[in-house]
């Protein structure tokens, strides 16, 4: 089996002291930023990108993946103790988790979330190890035409299918695509969309955009709506899972993990849908004597299932990123740009040309999961302390790091001006409910899609029909169109029927 051999290879590299150190650092940092409201894994990895100049690719990606997984664990702590979900995937956890905490059951809620995250993380990582090579075999036969269609599908799902409004999601996507076009065209050497400014010839750095949208915009929006008052952190109590709680949590963990992983693998990359589905499933399947706890005192099933689904989906997102080079979340997009800064092209060939890197990374994900359970259960007191950092100093600190991340790129004032302009746009995007993740994804994936398009048309000698005469690309395009218009047609049909 390719996966078994690969994992053996991976563990032999992952268990070295250096790589264990990177994993621990990543997990620690990830949990901290997951706990802190206002910053997430995408921003953190963007700010850590400078380490790619100094550290080996393996070390850097172990660190990044530790941050990615750690933020999931940390996010559940905040949603349970603060009733303030840090990211979309933990909204559902806050539903029942915060109710449990309010009724003095924060301990079991945190425990089931952490162990559920562990179970789902392990299931998800096994999924990556076994599914990855299969998808790679399939992906190797894809040509530029199919790749272009896959990217179009990716664009449609991340912007139009998820989130509140397809129209606003698409605007965000096109904003990102426009930002991605700025700079010298790689194929012909022409400067594009630069307004004649030489500072823009190298393009806009993705770190700058991520920092602007996730840090500056967030701070500006917070200030705009700020009315003081510190959030209340609920007491943790005893962190144990009784025999009954364990029994009630076990199947929700399994079902959540089983539900979450496939959703992550699909090029839709959302964690909202699987967590929501898991919540409704558990609500339906709950034993009758506990059914009344849903929505009143908080049911442990409603924390265990969605939290497992969230983590398994997050693990699943790594599958299209590693095997196809397709990022389906903002965090994955930033990681993809880290690959690019090492000169590594993620895609089907990654498993062959960078076998050691890939399998060490996957093995490190297992290591990270073990570390995170340890970090999150006994050390929960530490994270509660972090939650109590007052808002003024927290946001002031975030903006200091925003300056570093941006000014460090090229010591240019122009970059800072751009940071504030895009940050202001981001503030209005929050106000008008435009999602920000499609901007980052469009910016990274847009140039790749254009390259695939131009390659496909060069091969077909300018014949545009190549996208509909090749069965693979036609099938993907049909799915993309269905994903875009399907929900609307279904809605219209239902309204007519009603």
């Amino acid at each position: 089996m390719e996966a078994i051999n690969g994992l053996a290879l991976g563990f032999s590299h992952a268990l070295t002291l250096t790589n264990l150190g990177w994993a621990l650092t990543g997990c620690f940092l990830g949990t901290a930023v997951g706990v802190l409201p206002g910053i997430g894994p995408a921003l953190t990895i963007a700010l850590l990108l400078p380490i790619t100049f100094q550290v080996s690719a393996t070390g850097a990606f172990i660190l990044f993946c530790g941050v990615f997984y750690g933020a999931m664990y940390g996010g559940s702590t905040t949603s349970i103790l603060l009733n303030a979900p840090g990211e979309s995937g933990s909204i559902i956890t806050a539903l029942e988790g915060a109710k449990m905490a309010r009724n003095g059951r924060a301990g079991p809620a945190l425990a089931t979330a952490a162990i559920g995250s562990f179970v789902a993380g392990v299931v998800g990582t096994l999924g990556i190890a076994f599914l990855g090579p299969v998808i790679v075999d399939f992906a190797l036969v894809l040509g530029p035409a199919e790749y272009f269609c896959l990217m179009v599908l990716c664009f449609v799902t991340v912007s139009a299918v998820l989130g509140g409004s397809a129209l606003r999601g698409l605007v965000s996507l096109f904003f990102g695509l426009t930002l991605g076009l700025i700079g010298i065209d790689l194929q012909t050497g022409q400067p594009r969309m630069t307004f004649g400014l030489p500072e823009l010839y190298d393009g806009i750095n993705v770190v700058l955009v991520a920092v602007a949208l996730f840090a500056v915009a967030e701070a500006l929006h917070m200030a705009w709506r700020y009315h003081g008052g510190a959030p209340v952190v609920l007491p943790v109590g005893k962190l144990t899972l009784s025999r009954t709680d364990l029994k009630r949590s076990f199947w929700p963990w399994m079902r959540g993990a089983g539900l979450g992983f496939p959703f992550g693998v699909l090029p839709a990359g959302g964690t909202e849908m699987p967590t929501m589905l898991s919540y409704y499933t558990e609500r339906k399947l709950v034993a009758p004597q506990h059914a009344h706890e849903f929505g009143t005192t908080g049911a442990i099933e409603g924390v265990a299932g969605p939290e497992a689904a969230n983590n398994a989906a997050a693990a699943g997102i790594l599958v299209p990123m590693l095997t196809l080079g397709l990022p389906t979340s903002a965090t994955a997009a930033i990681m993809l740009s880290a690959f690019q800064s090492y000169g590594i092209q993620p895609g089907p060939l990654l498993f062959e040309t960078q076998a050691v890197l890939v399998w060490t990374l996957i093995a490190s994900l297992f290591v990270a999961n073990v570390m995170l359970v340890v970090l999150n259960l006994p050390l929960v007191g530490l994270w509660v302390k972090i939650l109590k950092i007052p808002t003024p100093q927290l946001y002031a600190g975030i903006l200091v790091f925003a300056t570093i991340g941006t000014y460090g790129i090229s010591n240019s004032i122009v970059d800072l001006v751009l940071l504030y302009i895009i940050g202001t746009i981001g503030m209005f995007m929050r106000r008008f409910d435009f999602p920000v993740a499609p901007v980052v994804i469009g910016m990274i994936l847009g140039p790749m899609a254009e390259q695939a398009l131009r390659q496909a048309l060069t091969i077909s000698q300018g014949d545009w029909s190549v996208f509909i005469t090749r069965p693979g690309s036609l099938a993907i395009l049909v799915v993309a169109v269905l994903a875009l218009v399907g929900p609307r047609i279904y809605g219209a049909w239902r309204r007519r029927g009603a």
Partner: protein
């Protein structure tokens, strides 16, 4: 749904529309490549600009039919905008922008830290400054010495390096 025109939404729509039109202008300004290619450097910029313009048009139409803000819980429940906080935060960003070149990272970032903390209601500027200066000097040191990322040395950084007996960058 009301049929009243939603002014903020209309402005957002017009902004997106304008963004698309600026995209057209910039796509038109791309010099035609002398290299032969099946699809040149202008095609995708035109496609993206068209998309943005159409989407902006749709947003404007939506705004004329009542807009979407009225259905956003965050907007409906929000209190009056806190212009004082926004102003102080803006001042912090501006101070950073102006100071980072001449005075260096630590001074600029500390000024920003104090103003941003004040924006979010911190009452003790002196205490914030005492947090900010060591913090910014520490991260400056970490980034420059540890990662080799230069984030702008200045007066304070030079002083610290001299105290440590190192060469000033």
């Amino acid at each position: 749904m009301t049929s009243r025109i939603a002014l903020p939404d209309l402005l957002a729509g017009i902004f997106v529309l304008g963004f698309g039109l600026v995209g057209f202008w910039q796509a038109g300004a791309i010099p035609v490549s002398p290299l032969y290619a099946q699809i040149g450097p202008k095609a995708v910029p035109y496609a993206v600009a068209s998309g943005m313009t159409v989407l902006g048009g749709l947003l404007v139409l939506g705004a004329l039919r009542g807009g979407w803000s009225a259905s956003l819980a965050d907007v409906v429940e929000a209190g009056p905008p806190n212009m004082r906080a926004l102003g102080l935060l803006g001042a912090g960003l501006l101070a950073n922008l102006v100071l980072i070149g001449p005075a260096g990272f630590s001074i600029a970032a500390s000024a920003q830290f104090v103003l941003v903390a004040a924006a979010f209601g911190s009452r003790s500027m002196a205490r914030d400054l005492l947090i900010a200066l060591p913090l910014t000097l520490l991260v400056w040191f970490l980034f420059v010495q540890g990662l080799g990322v230069n984030i702008g040395a200045g007066l304070l950084e030079g002083l610290v390096l001299r105290l440590l007996g190192r060469e000033v960058l």
